[in-house]
Amino acid sequence: MTQDPETYSALGEVGAFQERRTLWTRIKLDLKKSPMTARFGMSVILIYAIVAIFAPLLAPYGEAEVFPVPYAPWSSEFIFGTDQIGRDIFSRMIYGARNTVGIAVATTLLAFLIGGGLGLAAAINRSWLDQFLSRTVDVLMAIPSLIFALVLLSVFGSTVINLIIIIAVLDSTRVFRLTRAVAINVVVMDYVEAARLRGEGIGWIMRREILPNIMPPLVAEFGLRFCFVFLAIAALSFLGVGIQPPTADWGSMVRENASLIQFAQYDLKAGLTPLLPASAIALLTVAVNFVVDWFLHKTSGIRDE
């Protein structure tokens, strides 16, 4: 094992060289090694995405189509029966994928746009801007966000646009904190200093030096924030102050059909009806959480034992 010092060369030094693989083969390899929970999560997310995109093709009836049979039982005509005013629950579930998930994705994207942008700016600026933004966020986070959202909705009213803006702004505080924290760790790196010394502009440093290095935690956070936003919107809709009828939405569907649960003793299927939209929500959040958990474990490099 002794290496002759006379023939020592930099080339001969053992580095942890890995075979260069294309993105696709690396993804395939990662997937091969992924745990069951993550695979389950990914399949669920994929199915939801397909359902959301092709909702009008998949749903047997219209989103707000009313039939003269309220509270119809499960049957071949109405797979999951009808609701209190006679709308097909199965169809509404399918449209709900589009509305509930779509609104949650839009809200999360907006939250990241606001929180991520400001967080990055604060990490680079580190003076009055950072102070101002950080103190503002401290105050906003001193109020529980559901309570804050309720206050704002009572003032501005429950429209979809208001809902998206209010939740996005409240949630952007957490995105801001995370982005700022991870970006600060990167900003102090010598390679960022080296870029500054070279005379690179702020845009280049942000785009090329900082962003690629803060992406993994931000991607994971996107998943977690999505779950949080999704649950918050579902909760608000359930409370009757979120997405308003006749838009099909899982949260309000639970509320509308809640009374059916009392009949579970007599007709189990009817009793299960309100749980269907609720479990649609739960299944997606579980799926996203499983995938994020795996992703975090993979990228953090922490292997506990």
Binding site: V139, I143, V151, S154, V155, F156, L239, P274, A282
Partner: protein, 326 residues
């Protein structure tokens, strides 16, 4: 001045400042209302005079800072204003003071929250600490997957599953938690069983995961390895070396989750029609009864801020670096 004392005072000052700013934000909710809300509250048939009288009562003609001073002065004396509901176009005012609406319900909410906390905190700490100690065992993995699943569930989903199982299919507990001031303690606990169980499940999952992470973090410190290498047993490592440094993270975990409880209670109260502040607030939001919304928000925000303040202060007074300054 002693360092601990000074730091605690600083933190208290910061807490007060936060409360002040939060109160301004909540106060300004009424500022942001559209101009025609007087008509909305009093109804279409309201005359110009009654609307003007209503605006005068709210003091909308005075400058905002004056009204804030008056409002906060009243709040400090326990007066949260008067509800919008119960008014009508004719000018007859049957509205009730917000305090009278909130007070009995606040007691109910506190009862439900404390009942949950008493059950949930010990369970969560025990689960969190044991799964950190037996990290990566089958026990740990099972608990981990179970809690990850639970935190992904919306509160109302957990609530309805419990109703389906324990109230509908096998009727053990009532699904409606309709308590009032006269309900005796035992019956109150019986009626609040399902809401408390729902909250417990959700809180335990969160708190257990945070406890586990905090303990693992602590056990990775070099001084823990040093203690092992000087022959300390597992029990001694935990009690003598880990615990004295664990108060701050554990306090943070507990208060964070109690604060979470404050929010979670809103949905659960609605599901079980439990007469608490959360349900009152949701009703007030639906009817846009701003003074009630403000009152509830103020109470929730205050509880939340106080809990976080407590966690920080526990962290400060157990920090050896501050307890024994250089």
């Amino acid at each position: 001045m002693h360092a601990v004392f000074r730091t605690v005072l600083e933190r208290l000052g910061l807490g007060l400042a936060t409360l002040f700013i939060v109160s301004i934000i909540i106060f300004s909710a009424i500022e942001m209302l559209p101009g025609d809300f007087g008509e909305a509250v009093l109804g279409q048939a309201a005359t110009k005079e009654t609307v003007a009288a209503f605006r005068r009562e709210l003091g909308l003609d005075e400058p905002a800072y004056m009204r804030y001073a008056q409002w906060i002065g009243n709040v400090v004396q326990g007066d949260l204003g008067t509800s919008f509901s119960g008014r009508n176009a004719s000018g007859i005012d049957r509205s009730r003071p917000v305090v009278d609406l909130i007070a009995p319900r606040l007691w109910n909410t506190l009862f439900l929250a404390s009942m949950t906390a008493i059950i949930a905190v010990p369970i969560a700490l025990a689960l969190g600490i044991t799964s950190a100690l037996y990290r990566n065992s089958i026990y740990d993995r099972t608990v981990n997957t179970a809690t990850l699943t639970t935190i992904s569930f919306p509160e109302f989903f957990v609530a309805y599953i419990l109703i389906l199982l324990l109230a509908s299919l096998w009727p053990v507990f009532p699904s409606l938690a309709n308590v009032d001031a006269a309900t005796p303690l035992a019956e109150r606990m019986f009626k609040a069983a399902l809401p408390a169980m729902t909250l417990t499940l959700v809180i335990v999952a969160h708190m257990m995961r945070m406890t586990r992470a905090a303990i693992i973090n602590l056990l990775a410190s070099p001084y823990i390895q040093m203690a092992r290498l000087s022959g300390a047993s597992q029990t001694e490592v935990i009690i003598k070396h880990a615990l004295p440094n664990a108060w701050a993270p554990i306090a943070t975990v507990i208060t964070f989750n109690l604060a979470y409880l404050v929010v979670g209670v809103v949905v659960v109260e609605v599901v079980f029609v439990y007469p608490g502040v959360g349900q009152l607030m949701v009703d007030a939001v639906t009817s846009r009864d701003i003074p009630v919304v403000q009152g509830c928000a103020l109470i929730f925000a205050m509880t939340y801020i106080l809990l976080n303040l407590t966690a920080d202060i526990i962290g400060i007074i157990t920090n050896p670096r501050l307890l024994h300054p250089k």
